[in-house]
Assembly symmetry: C2
Homo-oligomer: 406 residues x 2
């Protein structure tokens, strides 16, 4: 991909221009970060530049594991807050290099222009997910030298691809002490609102087995696709729950996302697979969610093949586990969460909301660290061709964090 | 495929050795035909040799279209019988070159040995489907110089692949007069019984449409796979008919043979396709069969995209036609059919049976020519690795045809 990318405009290093005022400095830093191509698997160059930037800051202790950077203050505060952002982006779609749009530019979406009249807009890959938040965190790393809590900045790789490559996961396994803390903020786009916790997700195949035969002599076989009717019937019969956890409302979902079966147009199919995705609220553990689908003692685990469901929605069918990620409680009972949420509400008018998609807050939750998503830009623009963020979002996010941390 | 095939043993030309007796001559001719490699798309060499053989016979008028040969007597008889065999075979599976097995050889299947004790067995690709019948027809072409009816021998290419390549279809379209007649026999393996007519077959996709969305926000989409539950329910509810036509019993079948849907593991699917195969008895025309599935005025035809079913089993769903082949009535009301069936029954004890799989008899049926399958070898061994035929089947088939035609 990068072979056809115009990287001529990439900066040689990241810098914060302290003499131009906060808005101009933040917008400029955001444009610098966005000008460095960093689609997943190709983020090493941006990691190198970020590392060099952090190492110029004497109040931070910097460590690196693969392409993940951890930079910590060691001020002896009684509590520590983790601030994390991923440096990779999804593949570009004619949206690299980035553009800094003047007010009135036709590329500015109406919703963005209405919410931020008269502001310049940063446009291009990563504008919302999540180089604007990365820029704010780098700006704070450089300028917030005497925070109320000790701070741990994490800049990581491979968030937008398979979990096995995720840099935060690797550090959590190899050096859990590096990212220990009392509270964590991940800069995923939330339009500077607080999105707490997240639904968990499991994916598995529900399998039927038949006996192959020529379709001219169908009675000599047994049709596995026909047997899948009962799987789909149970999916249609299921009612998705809406669950309130710590005052936030999580909406569940149980869906077939893929289906496949059959070996040929004239062959009675001997297998049918329905790939099911269950998004479950944080009132349930992973084990509880699996029990609801396949029974508590089904025995299906990642990589151990097919097991018969002993209970739950798919009782009696074959189950093969494909993916599992736990839910995360929103941690609204933590004083740090409540104070940040109150400040964000005062500045934006937004009440905390439940996060529905799975995010890396669940990794912190697994480590016992309450975590929320809080970042610049609209989540609805993430991964879009016309990803963009008004520059006012950068100062809004930076202001909330600086005031909360000072 | 042919690059790794040992073709060193191929004969230079086909010959009938009149001095060794009928059994030895037939077995030898069958081995000659089988020694010439002729997997579909590679049958030209065997066609050339067959053409050269037929052109040595002064009582036959030989014509060629592509790789299909038509050789006719012109004796002024009041009726004409067509005798047809395809020269191509399905791909080899370590079963070329052929072998002539002596009694007791462990490669001889128990069922073959029991039915033909003490006989030699021709083993290898095409033994039953259908080079043994080809050899019998070539033997008759050479030796039956004064038949009761005028005869038309057809040796054709590309029977084992897509219908668009089928040599008999091409001749039926380009030169229907070449294959005109009062009755047709196709030498597909029937263990020398009469198999009459055939079920028709249609294949089509039944389609549901949804709205894609991220599976974490499933309520923003609509799940097309879940909607396919009703398609599968109707398939399960359907009862396959058993239909008697001209005294032969045809068993129908309605089956999903393929199913597919979904774009990704985390995406609510916007389409699901159920590929359905309806095998219908010869009491129904193609149009009647389609009406039972999708309504008489659905409008779905091959290549014209998706149309909504206006009635029938799949009323209300999208339909896209994929394949259609008419049924063929068995023609048991024809005097020629009845007399051949009576002779075959006297020699083999077998009553005429319905043909369930679709065969080229339907092409003759479309031309108004009653047609049956009648050939050497077991249909259950066709396409198998251990395809084989006892040499007694060759003389049995040759004897029935010669006596019926003399």
């Amino acid at each position: 991909m990068q072979d056809v990318i115009d990287r001529a405009g990439e900066p040689l290093k990241l810098t914060v221009d302290a003499g131009v005022g906060e808005q101009a400095a933040l917008t400029d830093l955001c444009m610098q970060v966005m000008r460095v191509y960093s689609v997943s698997d190709d983020e090493t160059h941006l990691t190198d530049m970020t590392e060099a930037f952090l190492r110029t800051l004497p109040h931070l202790d910097v460590q690196r594991h693969g392409d993940t950077l951890v930079a910590r203050t060691n001020l002896g505060r009684d509590r520590r807050v983790v601030l994390a952002g991923h440096l990779d982006v999804v593949p570009v779609i004619d949206n690299f290099p980035p553009k800094l749009l003047e007010p009135g530019d036709p590329l500015i979406l109406p919703g963005v222009a209405e919410a931020h009249p008269g502001e310049r807009v940063v446009w291009g890959r990563g504008a919302t997910d999540m180089k604007s938040s990365d820029a704010v965190l780098l700006y704070l790393a450089a300028t917030l030298t005497n925070p109320k809590y000790d701070l741990t900045y994490v800049f990581y790789d491979h968030e937008e691809v398979a979990a096995e490559k995720n840099g935060l996961r690797k550090v959590a396994e190899a050096h859990p002490d590096w990212i220990a803390g009392d509270f964590a903020i991940i800069g995923e786009p939330t339009s500077c609102g607080i999105e707490g916790g997240c639904n968990g997700t499991i994916r598995f195949d529900v399998v039927t087995h038949g006996i192959a035969a020529h379709s001219a002599r169908a009675w000599m076989g047994h049709n596995a696709i026909h047997d899948a009717a009962e799987i789909l019937r149970r999916l249609n019969e299921h009612t998705d729950a809406t669950v309130s956890v710590d005052g936030l409302v999580y909406r569940e979902g149980l869906n077939a996302t893929l289906i496949s079966g059959g070996k040929g147009t004239n062959v009675i199919p001997d297998e049918c697979r329905v790939h099911v995705n269950y998004r479950f609220a944080p009132d349930k553990s992973l084990a509880e969610a699996k029990a609801l689908m396949m029974g508590a003692d089904c025995g299906a685990e990642l990589g151990n093949g097919e097991h018969q469901a002993t209970g739950g929605v798919f009782e009696g069918f074959g189950i093969e586990m494909k993916d599992e990620s736990p839910s995360a409680r929103p941690g609204m009972d933590s004083e740090l969460t409540r104070s940040l949420a109150a400040l964000a509400k005062a500045r934006t008018g937004k009440d905390p909301e439940a996060k529905l998609g799975w995010t890396d807050v669940a990794r912190f939750s697994q480590l016992g660290v309450p975590a929320v998503n809080f970042g610049a830009g609209s989540p609805l623009l993430a991964h879009k061709h016309d990803e963009q963020v008004a520059e006012g979002e950068l100062t809004l996010m930076a202001g909330i964090l600086r005031d909360w941390l000072s």
